[in-house]
C-alpha cells in the first residue's frame, strides 16, 4: 500500500445525542500504513468518532469512507476494534474465547489455532491457554482482549484507550506490537489522553476538544510549527530568573530539571546570560521541541 493512500476518511461528520453534540463537523484523513492518534481530554468525542468509524453508530450527517467505500458488513471483517469498554466471557477458556472472536470475523479452520498460539506466545500467555478468563489477572485479560482485536489480521486496527491500566512492561509490549503492525503495512488508529505514549508511536495526530477538531496533521510538522521555544534547564541557584514572566511564560519543574516555555519575544540567550550572571551552576541547558503534552495543553486552553 502506498503511504499516500487513505484508509479512513471522515467528511464533515456530526453526531448528537438529544441536546448534546458529541462530534461537530469533523473531517479527517487517516493514511494507510500509519499510526494515527486521536487525542483529546475526556468527553472530547473520541469514542463517538471511533464508534462511527466501526459502524456501531451512524453519523447524523457527513460521510465516512473506509478503504475507499462506504462501510458494510464485509468491511467490518477487515477492521480490528478494541473498545474502551471491554471484557471477556468470564467462564470461557481463553482458547475458546479467541476462537469465537476469530469466527465472528470469518476466520476459519486450522489457521485459527495457529493464530491463537502465535498471539498467545507473543503476549507471553501461552501457558494460560486452557484457563478460564476469570482466573486471569486484569493485565492478562487486557492482553487477551487485545488479541481479540488482531486475531483476524485486520488491515485497520482501532484501539480506544488501549494502554489504560497496563503496567509499564505490558505497555511497552503492546507499543512494540503496534509498531510491528505498522511495519507490516497495517493502519492503526488509537485514542488516548496519555500524551507520552502518543508522542512515541504516532505518525499523525488529531486533537479533539469539545466535539471539535482543534488541530491535525503529521506529528513532526505540528511540532516543527510550534518551533523550538522551550528550554530544558538543570541548574543550582538562579531561581528568580526562571520565574520572571517577561522571560518564561510557563515553567514545569520535574525532579531534577525544569522545562521553561519562552515568553513571546524572549530569547534563550538572554535567559542563559541572566542565569550565569545570577551565579547559578548550570548542569544542562538545551533547546527542546515542545512536548505533545505542552501542545495539547496550550491548544486546549486556547480553544476553551
Amino acid at each position: 500500500m502506498a503511504a499516500t493512500e487513505t484508509t479512513v476518511k471522515l467528511d464533515r461528520v456530526s453526531k448528537s445525542f438529544g441536546e448534546f453534540t458529541a462530534v461537530r463537523e469533523l473531517s479527517l484523513d487517516v493514511r494507510a500504513g500509519r499510526v494515527y492518534g486521536l487525542l483529546g481530554p475526556n468527553g472530547a468525542g473520541k469514542t463517538t468518532t471511533i464508534r462511527m468509524i466501526v459502524n456501531i453508530m451512524a453519523p447524523d450527517s457527513g460521510t465516512i469512507t473506509l478503504f475507499g467505500r462506504k462501510i458494510d458488513p464485509a468491511l467490518q471483517d477487515r477492521i480490528g476494534y478494541l473498545p474502551e469498554e471491554r471484557g471477556l466471557y468470564r467462564r470461557m477458556r481463553v482458547v475458546d474465547q479467541l476462537r469465537f472472536f476469530a469466527e465472528l470475523k470469518n476466520v476459519r479452520g486450522k489457521q485459527i489455532e495457529s493464530k491463537i498460539d502465535e498471539w498467545l506466545a507473543r503476549v507471553k500467555l501461552s501457558e494460560w491457554k486452557l484457563k478460564r478468563s476469570m482466573e486471569l489477572s486484569k493485565g492478562m485479560q487486557q492482553k487477551i482482549q487485545f488479541i481479540t482485536s488482531v486475531i483476524h489480521d485486520p488491515d485497520l486496527l482501532i484501539l480506544d484507550e488501549p494502554f489504560s491500566g497496563l503496567d509499564p512492561i505490558n505497555t511497552e509490549l503492546l507499543k512494540e506490537i503496534v509498531l510491528d503492525l505498522k511495519r507490516a503495512g497495517k493502519t492503526v488508529i488509537f485514542s488516548t489522553h496519555q500524551m507520552e505514549i502518543a508522542e512515541k508511536i504516532c505518525d499523525d495526530i488529531c486533537l479533539l476538544n469539545r466535539s471539535q477538531k482543534v488541530l491535525d496533521g503529521s506529528l513532526r510538522e505540528i511540532k516543527r510549527s510550534f518551533g523550538r521555544n522551550s528550554v530544558a534547564v538543570r541548574c543550582e541557584g538562579g531561581d528568580g530568573v526562571l520565574d520572571d514572566p517577561a522571560l518564561v511564560s510557563k515553567l514545569v519543574r520535574h525532579a531534577d530539571e525544569a522545562q521553561a516555555l519562552l515568553a513571546p519575544g524572549a530569547n534563550a540567550q538572554t535567559i542563559l546570560k541572566r542565569l550565569i550572571d545570577s551565579g547559578a551552576v548550570i548542569g544542562k541547558f538545551e533547546m527542546v521541541e515542545p512536548s505533545l503534552n505542552d501542545i495539547f495543553i496550550t491548544k486546549v486552553t486556547e480553544s476553551a
Binding site: Y81, R86, Y89, D96, F100, F101, L104
Partner: protein, 432 residues
C-alpha cells in the same frame, strides 16, 4: 450466516458443558424415578396379616365376611393403589354355642393380651337387624383395619339380607352391575372415535411442558442477552456482527440447549412409562391403553410447542435488551409469567366451545395461540388455513419481537448502566 452459527455454537457448547446443566438434566429423571417408585415400594411392603377372631352369634355371616375380605385382597393386589390400604386378614371362627358372652370375652381378651390374635369381633344375634357390633383390638392407631372390616362386613350383611328377602344370586348380580359411561367424539368425517379424554390429557401435557420449559429457559435467554452487557463484550461484538444476528444466534443456541434437555428427559420419561405400563400389564391391568391420535396432530403439537416457546423466549430477550442486570430483568419478567399462566388456563373456555369466535381470536393471538390452537385441534380440528395462519402470525411475531429487541439492545448497550423505560425502548428501537 457463519457468524450466526458461531454464536449458536458458543451458546450451546458453553451451556451444555456447564455443571449446572449436567446436574439438572440427570437429577430430574432421578427425582422422578425416586418419587414415582419409592412410595409404591414402601406402600407395597407387606405387613403381617391381621389375625381377627370372629364370634358369629348370628351363625350366618362368617363365611360371607371371609369371602368379602378375600375379594378385597385380590383387588388390592391387582391395582396400583389399593382401595382400602394393604391390610390382609387371617380370620378365625370362634364357636360361641356353649359359652356365655362374658366367658368368651375373657378368653379372647386373654388371647389378645398374649398376642395370639390382633383383635376380635362379636356379632350379636340381632346383628342382621340392628347392624351394631364391636371390634376389640389393642392397636387403635391402625388406620386401615377398621374401615376394611367395616366395609367387608357391610357387604356380607347386605348379601345375607338379600338372601333372606329371597333374591336369587342372578338377580343380585344384575342389581349390582356397575354402569359404563364412555366419552365418544364425533370426528369430522362423521365417524365415531372413542377418545376417553386421553388426547385432552395430552394437550394438557403439551401445555404443561411448554409452560415448564419457558419458565426454566426464559430466564436463561434473559441471562444470555444480558451476559455481554455485564461482561462488557457487547461493543466488541457489535463491530463484528449485526445485533439481530447476535440475538437470533443466542435465542437459537439457548433453545437447542432446552430441546436437548427436554429430549433427554422425554426419553427417560418414556422409558419409565413403558416400564411402568409393562409392569402393570404383567399384573393383568390393561385398562391403560395408548390413545389413538392422528400423526398430523403430533406435528401440530411440535409446531405449536416451538411457537409457544419462541414467543415467550423472545419476550424474555426483549426484557433482557432493556435492562442491565439479571436482577432487574427478573422483576420486569413478572408480567410475562402472568401472561403465560392466563394463556395456559384458556384451555378451559376454548375446550368447552372450540369454534366460538372467542376461541378463534385467542388461537390467532401469538401469546395464547400455542395452547388455544392445540386445544382446538384436538377437540374440533379447525380448517387448515386457520392453523397455518396462526403459525404464520406467531412465527412472524417472533421475528418482529427479536428485531425490536436487537435495536433496543444496540442502543441500550451504548448508554451504559441505564435501564430503559418502555417509551425509551420504543424510541431506541426506532432511532437505532
Amino acid at each position: 450466516m457463519k457468524k450466526f452459527l458461531a454464536v449458536v455454537k458458543r451458546e450451546y457448547v458453553q451451556r451444555v458443558r456447564a455443571k449446572m446443566f449436567i446436574v439438572t438434566t440427570i437429577l430430574l429423571p432421578a427425582a422422578m424415578m425416586f418419587f414415582g417408585v419409592v412410595p409404591v415400594l414402601v406402600v407395597n411392603i407387606k405387613t403381617p396379616a391381621v389375625r381377627v377372631a370372629v364370634v358369629d352369634q348370628t351363625g350366618k355371616l362368617y363365611d360371607k365376611l371371609r369371602q368379602s375380605l378375600v375379594n378385597d385382597e385380590q383387588q388390592t393386589d391387582a391395582g396400583p393403589q389399593g382401595r382400602r390400604g394393604f391390610t390382609s386378614f387371617v380370620l378365625e371362627e370362634v364357636n360361641a354355642q356353649n359359652q356365655s358372652t362374658d366367658l368368651l370375652r375373657d378368653n379372647l381378651n386373654q388371647r389378645l393380651r398374649n398376642r395370639q390374635i390382633d383383635g376380635y369381633i362379636i356379632l350379636p344375634p340381632d346383628f342382621l337387624d340392628h347392624g351394631e357390633a364391636e371390634f376389640f383390638n389393642n392397636n387403635p392407631g391402625d388406620l386401615f383395619t377398621l374401615p376394611a372390616l367395616q366395609s367387608a362386613l357391610s357387604r356380607a350383611v347386605r348379601d345375607q339380607r338379600l338372601i333372606e328377602a329371597k333374591v336369587d344370586n342372578k338377580t343380585r348380580e344384575e342389581l349390582f352391575r356397575p354402569v359404563d359411561l364412555q366419552a365418544v367424539k364425533i370426528g369430522e368425517t362423521g365417524g365415531q372415535e372413542r377418545d376417553a379424554g386421553s388426547s385432552f390429557a395430552l394437550v394438557f401435557g403439551v401445555g404443561f411442558v411448554m409452560y415448564l420449559s419457558i419458565l426454566m429457559y426464559g430466564q436463561v435467554v434473559l441471562g444470555a442477552v444480558i451476559e455481554e452487557k455485564e461482561t462488557r463484550i457487547a461493543e466488541i461484538l457489535f463491530s463484528s456482527i449485526r445485533p439481530f444476528t447476535l440475538m437470533m444466534g443466542k435465542l437459537v443456541g439457548v433453545s437447542l440447549v432446552a430441546l436437548t434437555q427436554l429430549a433427554i428427559w422425554g426419553l427417560a420419561f418414556s422409558a419409565f412409562a413403558v416400564y411402568g405400563i409393562n409392569l402393570l400389564a404383567s399384573r393383568g391391568v390393561t385398562s391403560f391403553s395408548i390413545p389413538h391420535i392422528p400423526f398430523s396432530h403430533f406435528v401440530y403439537f411440535a409446531l405449536f410447542f416451538l411457537l409457544g416457546y419462541f414467543i415467550y423466549a423472545t419476550i424474555y430477550a426483549l426484557v433482557g435488551s432493556m435492562v442491565t442486570t439479571a436482577q432487574e430483568g427478573g422483576q420486569l419478567a413478572m408480567p410475562i409469567i402472568v401472561m403465560l399462566v392466563v394463556s395456559f388456563y384458556l384451555f378451559l373456555p376454548v375446550g368447552r366451545s372450540p369454534d366460538s369466535s372467542f376461541s378463534f381470536w385467542v388461537s390467532m393471538i401469538p401469546f395464547s395461540a400455542p395452547v388455544a390452537m392445540v386445544v382446538r385441534i384436538v377437540t374440533q380440528t379447525p380448517p387448515f388455513w386457520q392453523i397455518a395462519l396462526s403459525l404464520l402470525i406467531g412465527f412472524s411475531s417472533v421475528l418482529v419481537i427479536m428485531w425490536i429487541a436487537s435495536r433496543v439492545y444496540r442502543v441500550g448497550m451504548l448508554m451504559y448502566g441505564k435501564r430503559a423505560s418502555i417509551p425509551e425502548a420504543w424510541r431506541w428501537a426506532r432511532q437505532a
